[in-house]
Structure formats: structure tokens, C-alpha cells
């Protein structure tokens, strides 16, 4: 346990967590500005905007605007707040922060390797621990702890901010379904978001951890940031090719729509994730052994 605590201490994890917390709070502030609760006059203004939008010749947009107008009318009729905000809706809105959360998790995972490069302390590990497997286990357990803490903090800050700001835990979502408005909830959306975030955090974190052993950390982080931001485009681009089955994007998509997927699809996605993690873990152990033996001299 002490080894894990020191593993976190030497990477200055507390400072990283503070920075992460500041970023999340700033993100929540931004979300609050973007999705502020509407007063009656603002709802009417929004209604007018949608009505004007109907004049456009885009069928898809028109369909969307019509649905929103039905929901607004329903809210006015039943005296329900349109776009009501609560801790739960705030958590759901936090999905726009997912790419930022992911890259910060990747940076933290990479830090467990880069800290040894920066401080030139591989020699200490080699001299005092000797067995690469023990070093590897130590770094992996601390990596799992880091990821879990950061994911937990993401949820806690979103809920806490939402509670403090809106003082409500209301979980109501108005849905336009078959030409009528029905009352639903955000639970499915939140499950989808958290499950896909967890999967991505594991996959990108492990990938970053492996790559940073061989490539400069700045290149790894920039590369993974690009992939995280562009993952939908990459998925669309490669979806018709066989190689897409080997890449994680298809399985990210499964987790992003977890609630609507069948058991078989979820099982395949979980199996893929496990296989991916095992391969990466095995490769990282091999590279670590090779590095400690002086095989990758440029990093040692």
C-alpha cells in the first residue's frame, strides 16, 4: 500500500488532481452559462426562434424544430419548466467535458513512466526493486487507482456543482415520441455516458502508458488528444473496412448506446476490451523488461 501511495506522490498526483478539479469546476461553470434555465419570456423567445427556423428548407432541421415546438407548447400548457436543470441534468450535460477528462487521465497514466525518465530514476528502480514484474505491478495498480479517482471526481463534482447551483435532484426529461410528449428520465443517457467514459479511460490510458515507454510523451499526448477529438470521424471513415473490428471505435459506439444494445453486442464489446487490455499489459511488461535491461537506451 505504501508503495502505491509513494508511486502517486512521486508523480505529484495531488497537484494534478487539483488542476483536474479546477478544470472540471470551470467546465461546469461553462455548462451553466450554456444551458441556463429559461424564464417564461425566454421560452417564448425560443419558441419564436424555432418558428422562424421552420421557414428554412432543411427537412431534417424542420423535423427537429417541430419536435422542440411541441415540447415547448407542452411545457407552457402544463406549467412545466422547459430545460429544467438539476444535479442529474448537470451530470448529463457534463458529457461535453469527456474529451478533456480523457486526456487528463491519459496524462496522469503517462506520468508514471515519464516521471522516471525526467528524474532519471530508472536506475533506482533497477537497483532497489530489481524485478521488472514488481515495478510493473506497482505502476499498474497505482494507474488503476488514479483512473478510478479521476472518474469518481468527475461524477462527484458534476453532482455537487449541480446540487449547489440548482438545489434539485429532479430527473425528468421530456421526449417527443410518436407525435406526443412523454416524460422520461436521464438515467439511460448517464449510464451510456459513464460506461463509455470508463471504457475509453481504460483503453486510452493503457494505450498512452504503453506508447510513452517508446515515444516522447508530448507526441503521445498530442496524438491521443487528436484521436479522442476525432474518434467519431475515424469511426465513420473506417466503419466499412474490416480493420474497424480490430480498432476500439466500434466498441466505444456500443458503450455510448449501451442501454439500447442487446446483450450479445455488450458481451462482444466487453470481451474486446478485456482482450485489448491483456495485449497492452503484456506488451508493456515486455517493453519495461527490455528497457530495464538497457534495450531501449534512448529512454533510459
Amino acid at each position: 500500500m505504501k508503495k502505491i501511495i509513494y508511486e502517486l506522490k512521486k508523480t505529484n498526483y495531488i497537484k494534478m488532481l487539483l488542476m483536474y478539479t479546477v478544470v472540471l469546476v470551470a467546465g461546469n461553470l461553462l455548462i451553466q452559462i450554456m444551458y441556463n434555465s429559461n424564464s417564461n419570456s425566454e421560452i417564448l423567445e425560443e419558441k419564436k426562434m424555432y418558428e422562424e427556423g421552420l421557414e428554412a428548407n432543411d427537412e431534417e432541421l424542420n423535423e427537429l424544430f417541430k419536435k422542440e415546438l411541441v415540447i415547448i407548447d407542452y411545457c407552457i400548457e402544463n406549467n412545466i419548466s422547459y430545460k429544467s436543470l438539476s444535479a442529474i441534468t448537470n451530470l448529463e450535460k457534463n458529457k461535453i467535458l469527456v474529451p478533456v477528462v480523457l486526456i487528463l487521465i491519459v496524462i496522469c497514466r503517462c506520468k508514471s513512466i515519464t516521471v522516471e525518465n525526467e528524474n532519471k530514476t530508472w536506475i533506482l528502480l533497477k537497483m532497489y526493486i530489481k524485478e521488472p514484474r514488481r515495478i510493473w505491478v506497482m505502476k499498474n495498480i497505482s494507474g488503476v487507482c488514479q483512473t478510478l479517482v479521476m472518474l469518481g471526481l468527475f461524477v462527484v463534482i458534476a453532482l455537487l456543482y449541480g446540487t449547489l447551483k440548482y438545489q434539485s435532484f429532479e430527473n425528468i426529461k421530456l421526449i417527443y415520441d410518436e407525435s406526443r410528449v412523454v416524460v422520461g428520465n436521464y438515467t439511460g443517457d448517464i449510464v451510456n455516458m459513464l460506461s463509455s467514459l470508463t471504457l475509453k479511460a481504460i483503453i486510452y490510458g493503457e494505450l498512452g502508458y504503453l506508447m510513452v515507454m517508446c515515444i516522447d510523451s508530448k507526441i503521445v499526448i498530442a496524438g491521443l488528444w487528436l484521436i479522442i477529438v476525432m474518434e467519431n470521424n475515424i469511426y465513420n471513415l473506417l466503419s466499412s473496412y474490416r480493420i474497424s473490428k480490430l480498432l476500439p471505435f466500434e466498441y466505444f459506439d456500443t458503450f455510448e448506446n449501451l442501454v439500447d444494445r442487446n446483450i450479445q453486442q455488450i458481451f462482444v464489446a466487453i470481451l474486446y476490451m478485456l482482450g485489448f487490455v491483456i495485449v497492452i499489459k503484456y506488451a508493456s511488461l515486455k517493453i519495461l523488461k527490455k528497457s530495464l535491461d538497457g534495450g531501449f537506451r534512448w529512454k533510459m
Binding site: K2, Y6, N12, K15, V115, N119, L124, K126, M127
Partner: protein
């Protein structure tokens, strides 16, 4: 009796032979001085004995021998202070003894030091690395130019530490230094290394620093 034996040990970096056919026996209770020019292979030999790098050929028999030391430049974790760095090394060795860590810091004159390692001077870094090397109570202590960057007090304290370490615990110590005073004061035997080869191993009983210098220049 504990000893470390090297037979036909060789190491190449690219095409360059850094160590050639090294045969050496290190015995307990003896402090060995390793003397050689820059690039003679001293650090490489020390790293091979410590198990930090792999040899290309030969045998190194250091079974059941706990090795520790200061090799290359001093290194530690920048975000930790002196005590935390020592405690970390303790956890690497699967032990916990905070009092012993504080005692070791006292011996190297860093007991009051609360600043982080990144703010240390070179001398302080060296002192901490020396404390780290002694901390794990090794059977073989390897020290690569340990007094470079140390002030006069630091050098004197370091010499006392080495002497008491060998006397009390019957350990093996291997020191490389360009300062012949260190060799003269601390070492029982001197190994002269030149271009990756051991030229001569001599007893150091009554040799002064000047004698050692002359001896080295004569064989070179």
C-alpha cells in the same frame, strides 16, 4: 566468506569494447578503489556488478548479494523532499523504519532539510544519494565518484561513514574516484583500469595520494 567474482566479463557499446575480459574477485571487509581515466569503463563495470546493465559475455557471481550505491549522477524524485525520498527507497526494499531514515539524514547533514529535491544544490543531491546508498544496508556498496561536489565537511562525514560501514558490518565497498586522497584514506586495495582492461590490482596499505598518482602514471 562472502565474495563477488567476475570471470571474462566484456561489454560493447556499438562497435566499441568498453570492457574486455574482466577477471576480478571482491572480498568482504575490503574497500576497493577503482582508478582509471575518463572512459576507461569504471561506471560500466560498476553497473554490471550492480546488475543495472547486462554484460555481453562472461560470468558475474554475486548471488544473494544485496547491492546498493551511487552510480552516475545523483538522482531522486524532484517533487519529494529528502526524507520522503529515503522513505521511498525503504518501501522499495519492503521495509519501514522512519527513525532510521531520519538518522541517515542526520549522518549526511540533511536532517533539517524540508525543501523539495528539485531545489537542492549538487552537494545536497550527492549527500542524499549517499544516504540512499547506505540506507538499504547492502552487502556490496558501490560508489561512483562519491565526493565530487561535496564540501570539506561532507567529504569528512562521508569518509567516516564508509569506514564505520566496513568495520562494523564486514561489507564489500567499491569506490571509483579521481581524487587520490579518497582512495588513499579509504581503500585497502586499488584496481587500475585502462581502456576497459584491468592493468593491475595493488594493496594500498601505506600509499600516499602522490604515490597512487605516480603509480597510475607509471603503468599508463
Amino acid at each position: 566468506m562472502r565474495k563477488i567474482e567476475l570471470y571474462g566479463v566484456g561489454k560493447k557499446y556499438g562497435e566499441k569494447d568498453v570492457l574486455k575480459e574482466i577477471n576480478l574477485v571482491l572480498q568482504e571487509g575490503i574497500v576497493y578503489g577503482l582508478v582509471g581515466d575518463n572512459g576507461a569503463g569504471k561506471t560500466t563495470l560498476m553497473k554490471i556488478i550492480a546488475g543495472i546493465i547486462e554484460k555481453d559475455c562472461g560470468i558475474v557471481d554475486n548471488k544473494d548479494c544485496k547491492v546498493s550505491g551511487l552510480i552516475d549522477n545523483p538522482c531522486a524524485y524532484e517533487h519529494l523532499n529528502a526524507l520522503e525520498n529515503l522513505k521511498l527507497i525503504m518501501t522499495y526494499n519492503d521495509c519501514e523504519d522512519d527513525e532510521y531514515c531520519v538518522e541517515m539524514l542526520g549522518k549526511v547533514g540533511l536532517q533539517q532539510e524540508k525543501t523539495k529535491y528539485k531545489n537542492f544544490s549538487l552537494g545536497m543531491k550527492k549527500r542524499l544519494s549517499i544516504a540512499m546508498a547506505f540506507l538499504s544496508n547492502p552487502d556490496l556498496l558501490i560508489l561512483d565518484e562519491p565526493t565530487t561536489g561535496l564540501d570539506i565537511h561532507g567529504i569528512s562525514e562521508f569518509r567516516e561513514m564508509v569506514k564505520s560501514f566496513v568495520n562494523k558490518k564486514n561489507k564489500i565497498v567499491l569506490i571509483s574516484s579521481h581524487d587520490t586522497r579518497d582512495i588513499s584514506v579509504l581503500c585497502d586495495r586499488i584496481i587500475f583500469l585502462k581502456k576497459g582492461e584491468i592493468i593491475e590490482v595493488i594493496d594500498c596499505d601505506s600509499l600516499s595520494p602522490i604515490d597512487i598518482e605516480n603509480k597510475y602514471l607509471a603503468i599508463g
